[in-house]
Amino acid sequence: MLPASLDEAVDALAATPAAVPVAGATDLMEAVNAGRLRPAALVGLGRITELRGWRYEDGGTAVLGAGLTHARMDRPDFAALIPALADAARTAGPPQVRNVGTLGGNIVTAAPAGDTLPVLTALEASVTLARAGASREVPVSHLLTGLDPVRPGELLTWVRVPLLHAPQVFLKATGRSGPARATASVALVLDPARRAVRCAVGAVAPVPLRPLEAEAWVAGCIDWDGSREIDPAATAAFGEYVAAACVPDSYGAEGAWEAVTEGPSAAAVRLRRTVSVLARRALGRALK
């Protein structure tokens, strides 16, 4: 099924509850090829042009269509709007994948290494889930943690992102030069109006993690009224703080659920080092 409008799409889903929506199919086809998914029917979202762009709301919010491709989000006009999301889109796989892979697909797949997810988490974005005749607004974090998941027959239509008009950064470690999934990623955004720093760490846990205490602490170290300078020692300490908050001692150790008494595992030490470097560099770039 190839509906040409949102209404047609939600009607199609309502009429065929077993149907699965498909956008760029970069995740979906992988599951089909591996035999993990045999969709009874597909609802293609590619023709719904309204979902492929964005609009503004109440002056301070951008409403992004779920059908925005990574390639589109990487263009300068979008990058000027939400720089961290553009950064994430730029690194989300090889060009062939970014040309068709979408924001909505990235969110619904909710892979631990999904690159847009820490950015949306740091931005405290929310999504609109639509079904025939009704729609609801859910914070991205609730969706990702499973607190409020996508229900059968629902379509992710819009992503609401606050426009902060301040530096924001997404950094990703992959261990190679070519396109790859993140081994760890950090999204960091400044919110000068609220004098806040918001940060999310991706790929180290099933969902992006927010180091709330580290955020609050570092916000207090920044000279918000002046040139937004910060003591380099505070930047380094922020990195360590974030890493310690997001990577548990037991990371990667056998029986990870049990308390590890001998201190952090070797894997935890390595991952913390990576997260700490990413967080330090992200803050450094945001305040440069």
Binding site: G35, A173, T174, R176
Partner: protein, 775 residues
């Protein structure tokens, strides 16, 4: 890098439409004939084959690395509508004791069953196969085969293989090769020691295994496969099926990537068996996961070294212990071990060498042939040792190598004198003399240059540049007494020639070379290369760089015989000797210019045929102290790697590789450069990315997402400093094989550069980010 317009222009030129005339003969660089169809996507591979009424095959594989099979129940699979046959070891000819033994096969030792009989020894080992009228039905039926396994303890640490219970009736030791030469008590003033480890690299061919089997009316079978050894594969298939070899015909289809061997024997025998059983053509295409499970990978290795040197850094003694993990079956482990042992010191002179090397059986995936098998692992270790020695002495790494470099005539530790050119010193000079690439500038526009890739987390302040050198060697052709021979037929009629030779062009460019040879000898520009199949005379496998020499030699001889037949009557007519005539541009001319006759006219409508063989001089096995003239010839290569390392994140980017290679004679410079680039890419992959991981014998990343192949962004600029042309007088055209040695040397060079950038020892390949963090 080549831009799309360059490629377009090159292709147009090859098409010859209005462009410059096509380069011609040896020493020129004509474009390969398969380049255009491959670029256009119309080149046929085995997965594109089709036959009327074909069935689809699928294989059941073991989920366990080691288990006893107590029973197999195929009834549910057979009952599934659309299923035509289900086969197990019981359907293959029985073993010596009358019971099923899975018809074991192998390139050296026949120890790997086609279908597991009684026991499985590695994750993914084939147990049963199905033919059905739809691929989905075949896979569904595979899922319905019930196997009663009794899981056994898996031996996955090669060091445990010595004491573990035998995993196979042949035992756990494939080969122990001691090498002893000189004075065991010699000591040097300086001693450096190291432990080196190499992971499991997979050939990961672009196209997974695929083939089509068609039953023949005479009870035999025709196999369409991307084989790189049509006769060997035919003979082994026939033996496993209990057929006469001439009842099996193997037709070679387009090879979608092969570094040496392609389809494993189990795949093709199973395919043939299904066709024979059902009387219908059967097609089978493996999934990427199965492909990783079934074909052989590079031998993981553990190497322990101790180098003794005098105060000047001249080598006094080398002691080494080398352990290769051969996985579940023997394959070519014995041969890889011989290379690792014989080249354990590298292209250096050392009077006292004591090595013990073992290749053992484990429940890990089977290892086999991959460019420079054995030689590569040793190169990483001895070059790391030389770096340590240089560091200890405070000597430049190039200088330490120069001081010890081998030259023509020097003895190897095996006692064999290197009689071929060994321009090790000159190769080193060539790479060291090349200008270095510019340093990364602290400029946001150049961000893509940083380790971590475009849009990555790289920070110029944390980037350190490292420069490393490595030299290495690898033998060409079969070693240790293997009979090396190839046969070719050349035919001339009208204005064109045809080459019939079963040497498979696996992408290495043999077809292009054969064309160039005939062009040079016979002066005809249009040369057709017949597709390879096993009904032609034997040419042997596409491996160990042998076809340029052995099959190229056979083509040259056959062409010379045709030339003689063509010129003899003319020479007699004019009362001059054949030597005074020459052929060029399709014309026969005499030395004095009096005669000028088109080839087509000289032929008088006749067809001239000749068949010739090439068989290089024989070699001998290494004896019980690792001594013997085991190799026909050896190729050398030097590289300089330049890397940038983000020392906080451990991300490494190889900026440039500078290569000087001993090629004997450059028969097709462009193809040589292509081969060097391919070897560098594969070597960089092994050095930084590629590792087929196992956990308790179970593959962890059998996919192209999990198994990280180098992309264009991971592959460095390759700068060719020199293709040294010192003829190898015994080789065909004086040319040396070019493909393996760059892959052998590149990992060692990258490791040396990372060592230089980080100051860390770097004893393990691939180098993981955590191995390159230096803060």
């Amino acid at each position: 890098m080549t831009s799309p317009t360059d490629i377009g222009a090159a292709l147009q030129q090859d098409g010859g439409e209005g462009g410059a005339p096509e380069p011609f003969g040896l020493g020129s660089s004509p474009l390969r004939s398969d380049a255009l169809p491959k670029a256009l996507g119309i080149y046929p591979y085995a997965a594109d084959l089709w036959a009327e009424g074909l069935l689809w095959g699928a294989v059941l594989r073991s989920p366990h690395p080691h288990a006893r099979i107590r029973g197999i129940d195929t009834s549910a699979a057979l009952a599934l509508p659309g299923v035509h046959a289900v086969v197990t070891a019981a359907d293959l000819p029985p073993g010596p004791d009358g019971g099923p033994d899975g018809a074991p096969a192998g390139p050296i030792v026949a120890d790997r069953p086609v279908l597991a009989a009684g026991v499985v020894r590695h994750h993914g080992e084939p147990i049963a196969a199905v033919a059905a009228d739809h691929p989905d039905t075949a896979r569904l039926a595979v899922g319905l085969i019930a196997v009663d396994y009794e899981p056994l303890e898996a031996v996955t640490d090669p060091e445990q293989a010595f004491t573990a219970p035998a995993l196979h009736p042949d035992g756990n030791l494939f080969r122990h090769l001691p090498l002893r030469t000189g004075d065991p008590d010699a000591v040097g003033e300086i001693v450096v020691e190291g432990l080196y480890q190499v992971g499991r690299q997979d050939p990961a061919p672009l196209g997974a295994e695929a083939g089509l089997a068609v039953p023949r009316p005479d009870g035999g079978v025709e196999l369409h496969l991307s084989s790189t050894d049509p006769h060997g594969d035919r003979d082994r298939t026939a033996a496993c099926l209990g057929l006469e070899p001439d009842r099996v015909r193997l037709v070679v289809t387009g090879v979608p990537g092969a570094t040496t061997d392609r389809e494993d024997i189990s795949f093709q025998v199973t395919l043939a068996l299904l066709a024979l059983r059902t009387g219908r053509p059967v097609k089978m295409t493996l999934t990427r996961e199965e492909s990783f499970q079934t074909h052989t990978s590079r031998h993981p290795a553990l190497l322990r070294y101790r180098h003794h040197a005098d105060a000047e850094g001249t080598l006094v003694k080398v002691e080494a212990q080398i352990l290769l993990d051969g996985g579940a079956y023997a394959d070519v482990s014995a041969e890889a071990l011989a290379a690792a042992t014989a080249f354990s010191v590298g292209p250096y002179v050392c009077p006292n060498v004591f090595v013990d090397a073992w290749a053992v059986r484990t429940n890990n995936p089977p290892a086999g042939r991959m460019r420079g098998e054995g030689a590569l692992q040793a190169c990483f270790a001895y070059e790391s040792q030389l770096d340590q020695l240089a560091a200890r002495l405070g000597v430049d790494p190039v200088e330490i190598r120069r001081r010890n470099a081998m030259a023509t005539g020097d003895p190897m530790p095996t006692g064999q004198a290197v009689t071929c050119p060994a321009p090790v010193g000159a190769l080193l000079e060539a790479v060291a003399a090349e200008p270095l690439p510019a340093l990364p500038v602290d400029d946001p526009d150049a961000e893509w240059l940083l380790p971590g890739g475009p849009g990555g987390a790289g920070d110029p302040a944390a980037v350190r540049r490292g420069i490393g050198y490595a030299v290495g060697m690898v033998h060409m052709l079969g070693a240790e007494g293997e009979d090396e021979v190839s046969t070719a037929t050349v035919r001339v009629s009208g204005d064109h020639a045809t080459v019939i030779c079963a040497a498979v062009d696996s992408g290495q460019g043999f077809a292009t070379l054969a064309r160039q040879i005939v062009q040079t000898v016979l002066g005809v520009s249009e040369v057709y290369i017949a597709p390879a199949d096993s009904d032609q005379s034997i040419a042997g496998p596409s491996a160990r760089g042998r076809h340029t020499w052995v099959s190229g030699g056979a083509v040259e001889r056959a062409a010379l015989m045709v030339r003689h037949q063509l010129l003899q009557p003319i020479a007699a007519n004019f009362g001059m000797s054949v030597e005074l005539l020459q052929i060029a541009d399709g014309k026969i001319t005499s030395y004095d210019g009096v005669l000028g006759m088109p080839v087509a006219e000289a032929l008088e409508g006749k067809e001239l045929w000749a068949t010739a063989q090439c068989r290089p001089h024989p070699t001998e096995p290494l004896d019980e102290s690792g001594q013997g003239d085991a190799f026909v010839s050896i190729a050398f290569c030097a590289m300089r790697a330049v890397v940038d390392v983000d020392i906080e994140l451990g991300a490494v980017r190889v900026v440039e590789m500078t290569v000087a290679q001993d090629v004997g004679r450059a028969l097709n410079p462009r193809q040589i450069e292509d081969r060097i680039e391919a070897g560098v890419a594969q070597g960089v992959g092994l050095a930084l990315l590629e590792d087929l991981r196992t956990e308790g014998g179970v593959l962890q990343n059998p996919s192209l997402t999990g198994y990280r192949l180098p992309t264009a962004l991971d592959t460095p600029e390759v700068r060719i400093a020199a293709l040294l042309e010192e003829r190898d007088v015994v080789a065909t055209f004086g040319a040396k094989a070019v493909s393996a040695v760059p892959a052998v040397v590149a990992p060692a060079a990258v490791a040396a550069a990372v060592r230089a950038a980080t100051g860390l020892p770097v004893g393990r390949l691939p180098i993981r980010p955590e191995d390159a963090v230096a803060v």
